[in-house]
Symmetry: C2
DNA sequence: TTGAAAGCGTTACCAA
DNA sequence: TTGGTAACGCTTTCAA
């Protein structure tokens, strides 16, 4: 049979209540008693029953991290950063640690909702949504409603890389300034003399896609440069390859291609190489995420920290300079963090 | 207040037991009753209380996936594959889905144990351990003991990419044949005429590191070729760069470098490029994981499937041809899947 | 500082 | 096919 708290109590010759108090460390307990209890725990190899604990306490130490695509290194890095940040702040019940669990939505709206329900069911301590969100009004409404219920039930909600929750969901938000980032990226290419720039954009209905595209167009408009061809596709390597073929078909004179993210950028590079084109000798490529895989720079994003026990959210390098913002407020990560990935260089003529 | 099963029962004018039965779908319930219950659930926006359910049923629908480094695309792909395989077989209680959660151990033994305890505490339905394991006897014993307790408590244990559990832990295992893979990789390079091959190995005390190195040496010995320099380091891009510097310092005449995995291989490539060396013109590089990031081939590993509700484990392309093996038995993935990443080409002289 | 006991929301067994 | 009702193992007042 599995060992229960009562067994420990019996062995330590105290009441179950005392054992619970020792384990949670929230209550004063005599040192000698504590020691006796801990020894009993050890001797019996006792492991707290999570469900029972969560049921009684009406909360669990689960923290859900929803990502769009766990196979994408970008999300891997983000998830990893979040997970270690969560681990650091561990101070929960029954032995301490929070269980940070990453859930892969695959970008599918229904899976996002499913996972949110599952986490709601588990009475998760917190939920972090990472990456751009779908802009479909119906899905947005459903998500918002779900988040509202979660928050209502005591689950902390953190939005990371997507716009702050519509309505009045009490969520902390970590926002990447995609628009400014894209603008700077394009300005950079323009400054290098590029005038024919192709754009391998992300999926049509994503916030990240739209914001980045808007920033791109702003820069072009400001410089009076006509917009080049744009192709949409998922955030995958393969769509970078497909997009490149399409873009070059539409304008063989392209001197630069902007990719919707680094994974796509790698696909673009592969396609260019297949065609015998030199990078950046022949065509420049610019990405977004600044992955170590794509760049040699230390990835700024790996330093994103999400101290869930704070009332707000702090971001990356700013952590030491910025005070936590009150819950619900938004802190914007400087565009530099997003622009970092740029590798634009003029085409050889 | 939050809606409970009793509320639903009251609204549907049935007993709590009936509601439970409808929700779990394990018991026969009259169609009309079921409908009434489901409507009540909908109207009240009822969400099952996971902890309560898990407490009563003595099991949860949580499936833990432990990976060594979630920021490594290799594990991202593996986790993604596992997660979708788990989703497909979903048939659990209280609405169906299992909650696949990936836990990042960072390769740290104590975090591995911590997560296992956390999952044990949650009464997880299954636990999947992915990636090579530490060979330290103490840690191995601790892990084995922990896995034994988990299995004992009804948690299914799956080992993926690490040797089958020592002792008699009833675990399903999916084993990669690292030794044969490495042997083939080296044979390939030898066949291309390479005689001075450097080896950027993984961390010293990992099973994957040792097995791959052994295979490598087997091939060299069989061909009567002396072993080149070997450098150990973590499975990270940076260690590929460091290793390259060291390897070239030890033998500037190297014509090929084998990396411990694709992430490391990317670091090796970066370092070679920094030195103005052409790949594979000047130096060949060979990796292991066959990531799409590193190669253009479709990654065999993304097709790894882990049907947790089967008694055994099936692997990748074999799925249609192979019957599930009985629990506890081992099925070996053909070395081809591992060798795929090879990109060896003779050095220009 | 410690103990007693009342829940927490489901499940599952036993009747009906 | 449905209802009644003990568990399930822990947390948390309320007393002592």
């Amino acid at each position: 049979m599995t060992v229960t708290l009562a067994d420990v109590a019996a062995r330590a010759r105290v009441s179950p209540a005392t054992v619970s108090r020792v384990l949670n460390g929230n209550y004063p307990v005599a040192a000698s008693t504590r020691e006796r209890v801990l020894r009993a725990v050890d001797e019996l190899d006792y492991v707290l029953n999570g469900p029972a604990s969560s049921l009684a306490a009406a909360t669990s130490d689960l923290v859900g991290v929803l990502v769009n695509d766990i196979a994408d290194p970008f999300f891997g890095i983000m998830a990893s950063a979040a997970q270690s940040a969560i681990g650091e702040t561990a101070t929960g019940r029954g032995g301490g640690e929070k269980l940070a669990v990453v859930c892969n939505t695959g970008g599918a709206p229904e899976r996002e909702l499913t996972y949110l329900t599952l986490l709601q069911r588990q009475r998760a301590a917190a939920v972090i949504l990472m990456g751009g969100s779908l802009e479909d009004p119906a899905h947005l409404a459903a998500t918002t409603a779900k988040l509202a219920r979660l928050a209502e039930a005591g689950t902390r909600v953190v939005l990371c890389g997507r716009p702050p929750a519509p309505g009045d969901v009490p969520a902390a938000a970590l926002v990447f300034d995609n628009r400014t980032g894209a603008r700077r990226l394009t300005e950079h290419l323009l400054a290098l003399g590029h005038r024919r720039i192709g754009y391998a954009a992300g999926p049509v209905d994503r916030t990240t896609t739209r914001h980045r595209l808007e920033g791109h167009r702003e820069a072009l408009a400001a410089a009076g440069v006509p917009e080049g061809p744009t192709v949409h596709g998922p955030y995958e390597r393969a769509s970078g390859q497909a997009a490149t073929a399409e873009l070059l078909a539409r304008d063989p004179e392209l001197t630069a291609i902007i990719a919707s993210n680094d994974t796509v950028a790698l696909g673009v590079c592969a396609a260019l190489r297949e065609r015998g084109l030199d990078i950046p000798g022949d065509v420049s490529v610019a990405g977004f995420d600044d992955l170590p895989l794509a760049q040699d720079t230390v990835p700024a994003l790996t330093t994103v920290r999400l101290p869930l026990h704070e009332t707000g959210v702090r971001a990356g390098r700013l952590a030491t300079e910025t005070e936590p913002t009150p819950s619900g407020e938004v802190e914007t990560v400087p565009a530099e963090l997003v622009v970092r990935g740029s590798t634009g260089v003029a085409r050889r003529r």
